[in-house]
Amino acid sequence: MSLTLTAMSDSAVTSGQQQWSGSGPPPRPSRGPYISAITNRTTNLGIRGAMLFSVGVFLALVLNLLQVQRNVTLFPPDVISSIFSSAWWVPPCCGTASAIIGLLYPCIDSRLGEPHKFKREWSSVMRCVAVFVGINHASAKVDFANNVQLSLTLAALSIGLWWTFDRSRSGFGLGVSIALLATLATQLLVYNGVFQYTSPDFLYIRSWLPCIFFAGVITMGNIGRQLALYEYKFIQEKTHQD
């Protein structure tokens, strides 16, 4: 206890004196280890990346399960193996991609100098994730008359997701470009026979894929921005003090 007190007052003495005098710049406050870890830029980046990665892997597994579960029968001894039935590298890839996206979004925000202010709350982020899972659910479970209808519906839903939770032009642009890139990459992979879809309807792949990618990019960007908000707050504080 006294150790803490001493540590706290270490800077307290000098700073306190100066503060009361009113002259001289206010000193940097001493912070606890946790906060300093958060404030440390690299550590913060690492933490955020790891969190985004795990979220991405988790969502990939769950959504993959959603897609394959139609073919699973009632008696499921192999469910656990069916989770990993598709290629093992898909979840890590999704995780990495989501980490990159989640870090990219706040970065671009700060580069463009227009911090994202729209609905910056965890509840909104949760809502966004839920809608994303819902879009996946719809694509997997709802019977559509034809694929055009399915694609159009999903596209509308994705745009709605963007408009409800993001509404930033940079977010839209980034989402579209990443979705196109990811579709292209998938196309190449399928073309080279690395894996394939059960019922391709558009040049070897499912036509709803870009919409899902877009919604996923928006969601991960939302999470990433929310996580970055913590760092942003502390940095802002620091600059304020300086």
């Binding site: 007190l5 469910v79 839920a130 819902g134 209808q149």
Partner: protein, 1224 residues
């Protein structure tokens, strides 16, 4: 266009305003109305089948049966919608009851079932070979292989060909294997799963009846063996089945069998949820709960957070229910899986509006009436709520035009849900919110009452006779002090988690709940348990339920039959009935009626084969997973499909004793007789159960003993005794919180500076000197120079400007800090005076009523606030001293005591001239008196240097900066004085070395100087109402007043720069420092941050219920304390509340910041140090022995990190040693 929008907006706003008034005015009728409408809308839900995976039945006649068509037909009235198309399979069971008859005493127990079972093989042959236009092979369900992964079943279940199941499958349907099997029971038991099972076992599957009804055991007292041969047919051929039935009946006639055979039951199975579907489902629910958590966490500033969060969730849920109910009412039956779309519906409807409403309502000024607050809050947010709702409706309507049925249905539910959610928000939630806010106000009122009691202690007239300590007076207001254990300590996070677990007994509760759920599952899956009851309920509730007797709950039909014969019920009562078969009972045991079984007391020698109603649909006694699991072995799912169960074919087989003996296996006779032949199997299982229970109990006791020993070994004896003392806290006892956690022993000891005879009223310091003024009018000056650990108070001057000498004859007294003798109380004041009960708590720190407890006045009499300020300018005793009246009345009853009674004349003179404000700069003390006189004293010599009597209104606050003095008066005027010294050279002379802190050095005025104090400017109407706060820094003077405004003046030319408006209550606290940060807090609980240069409001936050009593800023945060005993820490740049600390009730409102990260607060007889970064309590220092009840009201932080605070009549100096060490 714009005007139209504006008009619309105004109309909506007005409508919401009226609605808010309505809701807040009639809360109870509206809540009743809302509940009634919720219930009405949910009523149609009762017609929906209960959720669950229980199968649904539908019974048709056999005669006119035809396979239902796929297309829905016209007469759907009585058919369930699943009854379409052919079933997955037809189930034909042949129910065999076999017994050795007559029973011979030479027979052994194995004979009871060996020969009856062997008959199954011949029956199987008969069935397989039966031909009538078709053979069985063409009709039956051909299976093509077991599900992979079921290799262990391979030897038992048919792998290909007809799905025909019988006990013979144990022996691969080969009689030879059966005959050569030495131990039949072992073979049967071999395939049973170990441990508890919740689904159908293999034995159930093969025997077709639940295990305990088969009679295949050593303890079968009825000696009747029951089993079924189950044929699974893929198509229905009435003629084939009819001929099979006739043939079997002809071969094995059942004498007294009256089973009905004209009904077939179609059983529809719901979709079972597998793990694969469960994981995404669980994920969506987790996301949903996270959403709800993060949403409801934002509810703040209300009486009961949990209550409002619950109301919010109830609003959303019941709007969903209403939506489903309404849709059902108008003929739309939900086809979607409710559990799956539910989270999405909640997310779409959302909790946002509710939160916005709450936030808007709590942001309204607290001093308004509840009704008006609700109405204002509603109308403020009306536009955004309507806009959001319109947007959402549009989006959902777009979704409706996707023309995908599932999405359309979802959208329909969502639209109706949104509308009903809006309805509920407007009526239900708003009303709940109004109730909550009213409760909060009541609580606040209750909380304030003690403070009100403390408001008006008499202006401490120096002449007031105080020699005799008054006896404990019947105070009109009693003050209830919370126990110290109530103190909310900020603990490390890790400990907090542990304490949370401990406090809520979370682990135990989870285990308990888990156990209950587990037992529930066991009961539910028990074949004879609640499941059948539920299934019966389901079938009863569905309007198309079984009309015939077959639809009766099976246990109802069974119960009378088994009243005598049910082994479980009877044997528990008669555990050991007379086993001896009585020959003369043979005939009497034979009852003609099928409904009366053999009495257990008299087992017949001729095993009685009876057929009862329970046999008619024996499959009902099986687990409801029986058929799904049978089919799932062949990779056929029954989910959302149905099977048709045909009436059973009864077969009665009597085996002669000779045959039984012939079919014996050689080992059967060698088989040891059952160990307890007299006890039935069920009792046996009962006994094992008891054994297991006893063993478990013993193990548990042993475990507890072991743990206890471990505990005694590992833990010290006196562990945990710290937290026992919950009683009154004695001196030196550290406060323990609820968990017995107490902070480490203090190494900081306060230094008490005694010398005042009455409570200390004003404190002032310039870093070097410390001046204090008590209620008696004494001003004492202490030299706060410190050397290492010792504080040397070498200059203690006492200035008594009391009644005897108006000029203030000084008696220099050098008193050590402890050397205070009673002689000083020559003024006729005794030490005990201070301990008279009301004083400690209720004496206000300063007579400037508005500084500390400003808004108590309206509580006494609201008229006071509305009175013109001129009234207030009269001595405040008239207007405010409520307690003074009480005290005066009290004194009238008190007989005057013997001591030196001051003359009344001087009493009146001094009555008006008590010191209300004091400031100290250099060696000059500026004292503002209630008479409006400003005096300048020499702090070193104790002589009055100058006085100014320009003003008549009492000086409520003083600021002394450079050579200017600013005095705020009770009538709202502001006077600027200039101190002029005739020997200006002396100004350059500094007393001592420059201060340790680089404070601007105080000018020293030598005694020869002639000091004059001139009024340079008087701002007459600076404020409309009394000025409550006055602060000066950085060349600015900031005043806050009762009239809700803050004004900024420039010090040099006393020019008013800005009038800051934004508070909706009187200003109670202001903070300004050299960096031009200005923060103000008001009676409305709001805290405003202002930009001093532009006069604009930077942020505006509501943090307290009731007044903000104190405000301090650091470079990164703003710290505020309020009348609600809450200390809030705000982020200075964003205005976001970082955290808040709940202090014990009645804590002082004093705050001080020692450094960027060290906060000190005054409490009841103690000061507490807090770590600002984490909000943790670092240390609590107790000031004195009689710490109870004396609050620290003023707190000054000196340069050397020492803290001076008042403590009754004493000053207490606390300093943190480590800080001091660093200093030197």
């Amino acid at each position: 266009m714009m005007t139209l929008r504006e008009q619309l907006r105004e109309k909506i706003s007005a409508a919401f305003y009226r609605h808010g008034l309505l809701c807040a005015s009639y809360p109870v009728p509206i809540i009743l109305f809302t509940s009634a409408s919720i219930l009405t809308c949910c009523y149609p839900l009762l017609r929906l089948p209960l959720p669950g995976t229980g199968p649904v039945e539908f019974t048709t006649g056999v005669r006119d049966y035809s396979v239902p068509s796929h297309e829905p037909q016209g007469d759907l009235g009585e058919r369930p919608d699943w009854y379409r198309g052919p079933p997955v399979a037809y189930i034909q069971q042949v129910l065999v009851k076999a017994a050795v008859s007559p029973w011979d005493s030479s027979l052994v127990t194995v004979d009871v079932f060996r020969s009856p079972l062997s008959r199954a093989f011949s029956l199987l042959e008969e069935i397989r070979n039966h031909v009538h236009s078709d053979s069985l092979e063409t009709l039956c369900l051909q299976v093509t292989g077991l599900f992979p992964g079921l290799r262990r079943m391979q030897s038992v279940l048919p792998e290909h060909g007809c799905l025909l199941v019988s006990p013979g499958n144990y022996w691969q349907n080969q009689r030879e294997l059966f005959d050569s099997d030495p131990d039949l029971l072992k073979t049967i038991q071999k395939h049973e799963p170990k441990g508890l099972h919740t689904s159908a076992t293999l034995r159930d599957l093969l025997f077709g009846v639940p295990g305990k009804y088969t009679g295949v055991s050593h303890y079968n007292r009825k000696r009747v063996v029951t089993y079924t041969i189950t044929l699974v047919l893929s198509s229905y051929d009435a003629r084939f089945l009819g001929s099979l039935r006739a043939r079997l009946k002809q071969l094995h006639p059942s004498a007294n069998c009256s089973l009905r055979d004209d009904h077939m039951v179609h059983v529809h199975f719901k979709e079972e949820i597998g793990i694969a579907e469960l994981i995404p489902l669980v994920t969506t629910y987790i996301i949903l709960f996270a959403y709800i958590y993060f949403s409801t966490r934002k509810i703040d500033m209300v009486k009961s957070k949990w209550g409002l969060a619950l109301a919010a969730v109830v609003t959303v849920l019941s709007s969903l229910l209403m939506s489903v109910g309404l849709c059902t009412l108008f003929g739309l039956t939900p086809t979607l899986n409710g559990g799956e779309i539910f989270p999405y519906l909640v997310v779409v409807i959302g909790l946002e509006n509710v939160l916005v409403l709450t936030k808007s309502v709590v942001s309204t000024p607290v001093d308004l009436e509840v009704k008006l607050r609700i109405a204002q809050g509603l109308s403020n947010e009306s536009w955004s709520i309507m806009k959001n709702m319109a947007t959402e409706l549009c989006i959902i309507l777009i979704g409706y035009f996707t023309l995908v049925p599932a999405i359309q249905e979802f959208c329909l539910f969502a639209v109706v849900g949104l509308v009903s959610d809006f309805f509920l928000q407007m009526f239900f939630f708003t009303t709940v919110l109004s109730i909550d806010i009213r409760r909060m106000e009541l609580a606040d009122l209750n909380r304030r009452l003690p403070a009100e009691a403390g408001l008006p202690p008499p202006k401490p007239g120096p002449l007031r006779p105080r020699e005799v300590p008054p006896p404990p007076r019947p105070s009109p207001h009693t003050i209830t002090l919370q126990t110290p254990a109530f103190r909310n300590l900020r603990l490390p996070k890790r400990l907090r988690v542990v304490y949370f677990l401990a406090r809520t007994r979370l682990a135990q509760r989870i285990i308990m709940v888990g156990t209950v759920i587990w037992i529930g599952i066991l009961v539910y899956t028990d074949p004879a348990g609640i499941r059948t009851y539920l299934a019966a309920q389901v079938s009863e509730q569905s309007p198309l339920g079984d009309p015939g007797g077959g639809g009766l709950p099976p246990h109802l039909g069974v119960a009378p039959v088994f009243r005598g014969g049910d082994p479980t019920s009877t044997l528990s009562i008669h555990p050991a009935p007379d086993p001896t078969p009585l020959p003369e009972n043979q005939s009497q045991g034979h009852h003609g009626s099928a409904r009366a079984g053999p009495l257990p007391q008299a087992p017949p020698a001729v095993p009685q084969i009876t057929w009862g109603a329970e046999d008619e649909e024996g499959w009902r006694r099986l687990s409801f997973r029986h058929w799904p699991s049978l089919f799932s072995y062949y990779n056929i799912t029954l989910a959302k499909r149905y099977i048709s169960i045909l009436p059973v074919i009864p077969v009665t087989v009597h085996v002669s004793p000779q045959e039984a003996i012939e079919t014996r296996h050689p080992q059967d006779t060698r088989h040891p007789p059952p160990p307890i032949p007299k006890v039935s199997a069920d009792l046996q299982t009962d006994l094992t159960l008891y054994k297991v229970a006893a063993l478990g109990l013993a193990a548990g006791v042993l475990l507890v003993l072991l743990l206890f020993c471990l505990y005694r070994v590992l833990c010290p004896r006196n562990y945990g005794q710290n937290g026992v003392a919950h009683g009154r806290r004695r001196r030196g006892d550290l406060p323990c919180d609820d968990y017995g956690y107490s902070p480490p022993v203090s190494e900081i000891s306060p230094l008490l500076l005694r010398g005042h005879s009455m409570d200390i009223e004003c404190l002032a310091s310039d870093g070097m000197l410390l001046a204090s003024c008590c209620l008696a009018g004494q001003i004492r000056v202490w030299d706060a120079q410190t050397e290492r650990h010792n504080i040397d108070f070498n200059g203690c001057w006492e200035q008594r400007d009391g009644w005897d000498s108006v000029g203030g004859a000084t008696e220099p007294e050098c008193l050590g800090s402890e050397a205070r003798g009673p002689s000083v109380s020559g003024d006729g004041l005794s030490e005990e005076e201070d301990s008279y009960p009301l004083r400690h708590r209720t004496a206000p720190a300063r007579p400037t009523l508005f500084t500390d407890q400003p808004d108590l006045t309206p509580l006494i009499d609201t008229n006071f606030t509305s009175q013109p300020p001129s009234h207030l300018s009269t001595p405040p005793r008239e207007g405010f001293d409520f307690g003074g009246l009480v005290e005066r009345a009290y004194i009238e009853h008190e007989p005057p005591s013997n001591s030196t009674y001051p003359s009344p004349s001087s009493a009146t003179a001094d009555w008006e001239s008590s010191v209300w404000a004091m400031e100290l700069r250099g060696n000059l003390i500026a004292a503002g008196r209630s008479s409006g006189k400003l005096e300048l004293w020499d702090a070193v010599e104790g002589s009055l240097r100058c006085s100014n009597e320009d003003g008549v209104s009492g000086i409520t606050a003083l600021a002394f900066l450079n050579n200017r003095i600013v005095a705020a008066r009770l009538n709202g005027s502001l006077d600027f004085f200039t101190v002029e010294i005739n020997k200006p050279l002396c100004l350059l002379q500094y007393r001592g070395a420059p201060g340790r802190g680089s404070m601007p050095p105080s000018p020293c005025y030598s005694s020869e100087d002639v000091i004059s104090c001139q009024l340079t400017r008087s701002v007459q109407c600076a404020h409309q109402k009394p000025i409550t706060v006055l602060r000066a820094a950085a060349g600015r003077v900031v005043t806050g007043s009762q009239d809700h405004t803050v004004r900024i003046y420039r010090l040099e030319d006393s020019c008013c720069l800005f009038t800051l408006q934004g508070h909706s209550g009187g200003i109670t606290a202001i903070y300004i420092d050299q960096t031009m940060v200005l923060a103000s807090g008001g009676q409305d609980g709001a805290i405003c941050l202002w930009d001093v240069l532009t006069g604009s409001r930077v942020s505006h936050v509501y943090g307290h219920r009731g007044d903000v009593t104190s405000l301090v800023c650091t470079t990164s945060c703003v710290i505020s304390s309020g009348l609600d005993d809450l200390i809030c820490i705000w982020d200075r740049s964003t205005g976001i509340k970082l955290y808040s600390i709940q202090q014990e009730v009645g804590c002082g409102a004093s705050l001080g910041v020692i450094s960027e990260s060290l906060l000190v607060t005054g409490g009841q007889g103690c000061v507490s140090f807090w770590d600002l970064n984490f909000g943790d309590l670092l240390q609590t220092v107790y000031l004195g022995q009689s710490s109870d009840g004396q609050g620290v009201r003023q707190l000054l932080v000196l340069d050397n990190a020492a803290i001076v605070c008042d403590f009754g009549s004493e000053l207490s100096l606390v300093y943190v040693p480590s800080v001091l060490e660093k200093l030197d």
